[in-house]
């Protein structure tokens, strides 16, 4: 399978603090992937490395097998919508489309024009005077006009109101369905993930906690409810997160389907949201414990 994006021991440092460290994952072509993690986890850094804005300090990142930093030819394959969808605010949408044509070898101006006209976005008003949702749509249309093989979006809907957010995601999903573009978008919102993406990368405190296709991830995890403080049943690879009430323990475990129902335990499927929260909470607790010098 062709990899649209792959990272290998990727690291980036600002001064002495690592924004991203020991980061390895693969994103196969054709997937729609979400990059999830709290603010400051390194999502923007990872996307900036992927689009060649930053140069890695360690390891490497490849887009369709080529390193993107300082390679305008590779940049032609990548559409990028940066956080807060920055555009020249005194340019009109028409001027921005014309600008894209001047800056890119491959440029589908008609595609951008058709999209914006379908959305009812005025062509001759400075984009600074458009609503946030409209501006995000302009940014998306410009990214799509490159006919990219990989589309990266950094928190595309974070600043939008719920309606504009839904419209944007619809526009994105519609565009992706028509082409064979691979998509990676970062988000710190968990709702709607299940509907939109089929691949997941979870970042927390500069490290990749989890990466893989949604189906495999859901398949490989189970929620077990059993008596408090009982040892986890056989076949469990790892307990990701344990929550206890007075009498019961709820464990989110990594495991293939258990060979047989373990006595005393009930098994349930996990939702994507449970899974992400479990992995995020897991590292959070561990880090706090380390910081307070408490052994778990």
């Amino acid at each position: 399978m062709e990899q649209a994006l792959e990272a290998e021991d990727l690291g980036k440092r600002y001064g002495r603090a690592w924004a991203l460290r020991d980061c390895s994952f693969e994103l196969p072509a054709g997937r729609v992937a979400a990059l999830v993690g709290p603010n400051g986890a390194g999502k923007s850094t990872l996307l900036h490395l992927a689009v060649g804005l930053l140069k890695p300090d360690t390891g490497r990142v490849r887009v369709f097998g080529r390193e993107p930093h300082g390679a305008p030819a590779t940049l032609g394959e990548i559409g990028f919508v940066a956080q807060d969808t920055p555009l020249y605010r005194d340019f009109t949408a028409r001027e921005l489309i014309s600008l894209g044509g001047r800056l890119n070898r491959r440029w589908d101006a008609a595609l951008a024009r058709d999209r914006l006209s379908a959305l009812g976005i005025p062509p001759d008003r400075p984009v600074g005077k458009l609503s946030g949702g409209q501006r995000a749509q302009v940014a998306l249309a410009l990214a799509l006009a490159k006919r990219p093989r990989l589309l990266l979006l950094d928190e595309p809907v974070a600043a939008l109101d719920p309606l504009a957010r839904r419209e944007f995601m619809q526009a994105l999903m519609g565009a992706v369905a028509e082409s064979e573009t691979t998509v990676l978008f970062s988000s710190h919102l968990l709702s709607e993930l299940e509907r939109t993406c089929d691949h997941l990368i979870v970042l927390q405190t500069a490290h990749v906690q989890l990466s893989g296709s949604v189906d495999e991830l859901l398949d490989g995890h189970r929620l077990l409810v059993g008596p408090r403080d009982a040892a986890p049943p056989d076949g469990v690879e790892k307990v990701v997160r344990a929550a206890h009430t007075e009498r019961q323990s709820t464990l989110l475990v990594r495991s293939r389907a258990l060979p047989a129902p373990a006595p005393g335990w009930t098994e349930r499927e996990v939702s994507l949201e449970d899974l992400v929260l479990a992995y995020l909470a897991d590292t959070e607790t561990r880090d706090v414990e380390t910081a307070w010098e408490v052994t778990a």
Partner: protein, 328 residues
């Protein structure tokens, strides 16, 4: 890229050209009047007649020249203050063009848009620097030529074009100052990443560098020359049209010791016995002494100073470019 640069900066460019035209509308008539008067009163012919030798046989013609020059100065003394404005203008052009060039992109995040299109960051930067630098160069050349022409009569009447202020607004140095100011603005914008702080840093940096070079380096580009001439004598006194830039002067005794700093005793009127007696108090062999940079070093000094500022410009742009590659 060319279209983008024009589209982004066309307003500033048009305003600059308008400002230049407004300036010309004031300077051309006053300049023509000044040049006319300079020639009509005979001041030009008079000063030309004195030549550029450091010392000159004092004659009634010299005094007449000085009187004409004095009258000319009186008439246009107010305009001399305009020189201060001319010193300041380049730095404003530089700061308003240079500082926002990259800093506005970084401030508004648009660098993430433009640097992820199919044009390399280096090409983006070089095109912008090149076009804005070229435009500034053009404006600065017109400006420097105009101001030089405007100022020539006033500077000739006042003294030397090597002096502070006169040197700074004439010849080719204003061009180098302007380019340096732009480069400093770009550099500050890349490092401080915000328009207003970058402007502040560029202004302060410009003042410091210009002041340092002007006050500490310029008088030392070449070792100054020494001039000695007799006290109170009619023959061989300093030529007011020599164009020399005096660094220090005083009276030295026969052994060469400086006995009175910042003093000079010119020709004594023949009838004035007091003057002659005063001179005798300094003892035999006492003489006027002057340390000066000769007026004919004007273009050499202009060249050296231009070289310094162009080198600084290149250095700042190279540093900005290197830093630019690491930003995201």
């Amino acid at each position: 890229m060319i279209w983008l640069t024009w589209r982004q900066h066309r307003k500033e460019m048009i305003y600059t050209l308008l400002a230049l035209a407004a300036l010309a509308a004031i300077m051309v008539p006053t300049g023509l009047a000044m040049h006319g008067r300079y020639e009509d009163t005979g001041l030009k012919a008079c000063l030309d007649g004195l030549g550029t030798a450091s010392l000159l046989q004092q004659a009634p013609g010299v005094t007449e020249c000085q009187e004409l020059a004095h009258a000319f100065q009186e008439k246009y003394s107010d305009l001399a203050f305009v020189a201060v404005l001319f010193v300041i203008l380049p730095v404003f052009v530089g700061v308003f063009y240079g500082a926002p060039l990259v800093a506005r992109e970084l401030e508004q995040g648009t660098h993430r848009f433009v640097w992820t299109q199919g044009v390399s960051r280096t090409r983006w930067a070089l095109t912008k620097f090149g076009l804005i630098g070229g435009f500034t160069l053009l404006v600065a050349v017109v400006y420097a030529l105009g101001v030089s022409w405007w100022f020539t009569p006033l500077v000739a009447a006042i003294g030397s074009r090597m002096e502070y202020l006169a040197f700074d607004v004439q010849g080719v140095v204003p061009i180098a100052y302007t380019l340096f100011a732009v480069a400093l603005g770009v550099f500050a914008g890349v490092y401080w990443r915000k328009v207003l702080p970058a402007m502040g840093v560029a202004l302060a940096g410009f003042a410091v560098v210009r002041g340092t070079v002007e006050l500490l380096a310029r008088p030392r580009y070449l070792p100054p020359k020494e001039l000695t001439y007799a006290l109170g004598e009619m023959d061989m006194a300093p030529n007011p049209a020599s164009g020399n830039w005096s660094q220090a002067h005083g009276i030295r005794d026969g052994a060469g010791n400086l006995v009175m700093a910042d003093a000079r005793i010119g020709p004594c009127p023949e009838t004035d016995s007091f003057c002659a007696r005063e001179i005798q108090k300094f003892g035999s062999g006492a003489h006027n002494w002057e340390l000066y940079q000769p007026g004919d070093r004007f273009w050499l000094f202009q060249g050296i100073e231009t070289g310094i500022f162009l080198a600084l410009t290149a250095l700042l742009l190279a540093l900005a470019l290197r830093r630019l590659r690491t930003l995201a």
